[in-house]
């Protein structure tokens, strides 16, 4: 069975697959709040760290349901970058089997006239011809109704980016879905054509 990230399985470790030696080991940082995860991701990316946000293993659950994955060998320098941004992870652990799928993974469903893009727990549905957002759903975070109110009825260009208005896990996932929808439905292939 192929495990996420190729880590954690004895067989996989014994085989030492290319690209999974110690120098490529990945770690995860947990933070107290979603807003900190979002800021940490932005700070580390700006500093050139290849990081991504993902769901934590069950035993690493904190108040926030996301962690930042990073290169474990670069932990000291990553911590320095975070300290400069006044951020401190609650916990750091190596990536292992059982990690949830990264929230950056998308699922899209073509409904003919419409395209639905899902990222983690949030979905955005867009009219493929006009690029107007017809629906925002999912989540359960308190800011979702307000975000949906701002976005539904607007085009992918006119709608505010979810992270400009929200700071929850839902707004983060919605931001990812929103960006993916923009990528899948570029302006020159939509209403401008």
């Amino acid at each position: 069975m192929k495990l996420p990230f190729g880590l954690g399985a004895k067989k996989a470790a014994a085989a030492k697959p290319k690209g999974h030696d110690a120098s490529h080991a990945r770690g995860v940082m947990a933070f107290a709040h979603t807003a900190e995860v979002i800021r940490a991701e932005a700070a580390l990316k700006a500093a050139g760290f290849p990081v991504r946000v993902m769901g934590p293993p069950p035993d690493m659950r904190t108040g926030c349901d996301m962690v930042v994955e990073f290169e474990l060998m670069r932990e000291p320098s990553a911590r320095r970058v975070l300290a400069e941004a006044r951020l401190a992870p609650l916990a750091v652990a190596p990536v292992r089997a059982g990690m949830l799928e990264p929230v950056s993974l998308f699922q899209s469903v073509d409904f003919g006239q419409w395209l639905m893009v899902r990222a983690a727990n949030m979905k955005v549905t867009v009219d493929k011809e006009t690029r107007v957002i017809v629906n925002v759903s999912g989540g359960g975070c308190p800011d979702v109704p307000a975000l949906a109110e701002l976005m539904v009825g607007r085009t992918l260009e006119d709608a505010p980016a979810p992270l400009e208005r929200g700071q929850t896990l839902c707004s983060y996932a919605l931001e990812l879905a929103f960006r993916e929808a923009q990528r899948l439905l570029p302006l020159d292939a939509g209403s401008a054509s």
Partner: protein
């Protein structure tokens, strides 16, 4: 008064009730429409889509797990 257009979206999962209702709103242009849905998140989403299209959510009532939304424009 003409009979309202009935849109039966029961048994469909999100976002399909919204899409079907949205399509019907576009097709009708104006008038009165009733949307039936048993998808939990859809009533709120349909109301939002209606507002974005200039329709008014006149009423929303739930009975035996089905929500009946009345829309007008």
């Amino acid at each position: 008064m003409a009979a309202p257009k009935i849109v039966d979206a029961r048994g469909l999962s999100c976002p399909q009730p919204v899409l079907i209702a949205s399509d019907e709103m576009d097709a009708l242009g104006s008038g009165r429409m009733e949307v039936l849905t048993d998808c939990g998140a859809s009533p709120e989403n349909i109301g939002r889509a209606a507002k974005a299209k200039g329709w008014k959510l006149v009423s929303s009532a739930e009975e035996n797990g089905t929500v009946r939304l009345v829309l007008e424009k």
